[in-house]
């Protein structure tokens, strides 16, 4: 006997059975899509910026013609004379003039360089020359530099010696501003970090605003370059 699936005549029509996948499948796919898009956008927006750096293009300013490594003698934080040209000859050197009471530029430059050098395998000597010899004793400079990197070299001297050290690289000598009621004062000074390459030439200067990843991108390329003169356009 044949069976029929037809509803009983006269009975109300039964609701159509649901077709297609259940609704929660759509929700799972939607949430998965949202998670994927979130991840992709996050990586795109927040990812490291170092990938785009080019070794052929410096974040600092190329100096032309490149001046010779400056020559001056100051006192290091152990109290010994430090002949800058002789002690750093043939080495990649970052030279910065500043002062330990500086509220912004100096600590930011030092911290940025220290943290960048932590991340790369580059032999570079960092030399800090005070522009405030009245307050920056060797002990104070040492304690301050140690907060960034104990290997950083700190130099001071008499006001005349310090001024001569600034003139040696072609800088305008720093200006001490009038003290406030509490005796505090600021010092107006150049904000650039001078990069002296192993050929004993000052090829680059990095101004305030240079970031960690700028140093990380540039320093290995600077150190790798065997013939700096060939790079000068």
């Amino acid at each position: 006997m044949a069976t029929t699936l037809d509803p009983t005549p006269g009975a109300p029509p039964s609701p159509a059975p649901p077709s297609g996948p259940p609704r929660w499948i759509y929700a799972v796919f939607a949430l998965g899509g949202v998670a994927f898009v979130t991840l992709a956008v996050a990586v795109l927006l927040l990812g490291d910026r170092t990938g785009g750096s080019s070794a052929a293009r410096w974040h600092g300013t190329l100096l032309e013609p490149a001046a010779p490594r400056p020559s001056f003698v100051l006192t290091d934080t152990d109290g010994r004379p430090f002949d800058f040209a002789a002690e750093t000859s043939g080495e990649l050197t970052l030279l910065f003039y500043g002062y330990t009471n500086c509220p912004d530029i100096c600590p930011i430059h030092m911290a940025t360089i220290a943290q960048a050098l932590d991340r790369i395998n580059v032999d570079a000597r960092v030399v800090f020359v005070t522009t405030d010899p009245a307050r920056d004793t060797p002990e104070r400079i040492r304690a301050w530099l140690d907060t960034f990197d104990p290997s950083f070299i700190g130099l001071t001297g008499s006001p005349e010696e310090v001024a001569a050290a600034q003139q040696a690289i072609g800088m305008t000598v720093a200006v001490t501003e009038p003290a406030d009621a509490e005796g505090d004062y600021t010092v107006g000074h150049g904000s650039g970090v001078w990069v002296i390459t192993p050929d004993d030439r000052v090829h680059l200067i990095y101004g305030f605003g240079t970031r960690q990843d700028d140093w990380v991108a540039d320093l290995p390329a600077i150190a790798r370059e065997p013939d700096w003169q060939a790079r000068v356009p």
């Binding site: 979130t38 956008v41 927040l46 509220p103 930011i108 960690q212």
Partner: protein, 285 residues
């Protein structure tokens, strides 16, 4: 005098800085709330209605505290971690408190007057709210956005407004003053909050925490605050984004489940009582 917090090269100090623009906005919000309350206040207030001003006041206090000196100043130009605290306060504390503090009879005239019914009906869908909230989170924490917007007062103001708006949006399907915006299912509400505010922000939070370099020039090159390094500051910001939401998100989920279970139990007890009190049909012989 500046009217809104923005990035500054001035060394950080705990000296007070005035931002009249913030005072004007906060005062306008409070005055507007009071005015609408007085105008549309029903004859009799329920106990819940009487608690609303307290929630609103707390929300305004958090909003003001997150925007003004010192947190606003620190977040706008000195510390990425302060920036993140601001964001968390806007989106996880001020947002829900302001919604909790707004009675339906205050919200409805505003929504009607501004013709927001259609927009809010779509925005209150959990999927829409969650996606938009996270897109704002990602967009406003991208280095380019932060460095560009925080550099000016108007940009900084825009960023703060976006955060406040996204905080209100996040909580709209959960605590919205208009009942038609609140999702009826407690389970959906909990899953939504966990995904939108707990799980997805862990991705950018992780990237910020484990990034090799400071992502934001604004904070990397800002005068240091109490010798906190840019890297440490950024890691703190990332950790905050990753796990700072836990107390709020899980607190909400806990409360929702407890209420759900309580309601369920009461409903079951009522049903059982009704069944016991219904006389059994007489047997026919």
């Amino acid at each position: 005098m500046t009217w809104w917090c923005s990035a500054s090269t001035e060394p950080w100090s705990w000296g007070f800085r005035a931002y009249p623009g913030i005072w004007v906005l906060m005062t306008a919000l409070i005055v507007g709330y009071v005015a609408i309350w007085r105008r549309h206040r029903p004859q009799t207030l329920t106990a819940a209605d009487r608690r609303k001003p307290l929630w609103f006041g707390l929300g305004m206090a958090v909003l003001w505290g997150a925007t003004d000196w010192p947190l606003g100043t620190l977040g706008a130009g000195y510390l990425a971690s302060a920036h993140m605290v601001q964001y968390m306060l806007y989106t996880l504390v001020a947002g829900p408190l302001l919604l909790l503090g707004t009675p339906e009879w205050v919200a409805r005239p505003v929504v009607t007057r501004l013709r927001l019914e259609g927009v809010l009906r779509i925005a209150a869908k959990p999927l829409v709210a969650g996606v938009v909230f996270n897109l704002i989170l990602l967009g406003t924490h991208a280095p380019f956005t932060v460095d560009t917007f925080r550099a000016s007062q108007f940009g900084s103001f825009t960023l703060d407004m976006l955060w406040i708006g996204s905080g209100l949006l996040l909580w709209l399907p959960l605590l919205g003053p208009l009942p038609e915006h609140v999702h009826p299912s407690p389970a959906v509400r909990c899953i939504y909050l966990f995904l939108a505010s707990g799980a997805l922000p862990m991705v950018p939070g992780g990237i910020i925490t484990f990034s090799s370099f400071p992502l934001y020039a604004t904070y990397e090159l800002a005068p240091r605050v109490h010798d906190i390094s840019a890297t440490t500051d950024q890691q703190a910001a990332g950790i905050l984004m990753k796990i700072g939401n836990i107390p709020i998100v899980w607190g909400y989920i806990f409360v929702t489940f407890v209420r759900w279970a309580t309601t369920d139990r009461q409903a079951s007890a009522t049903t059982a009582r009704q069944q016991r009190s219904t006389p059994e049909p007489l047997a026919r012989h």
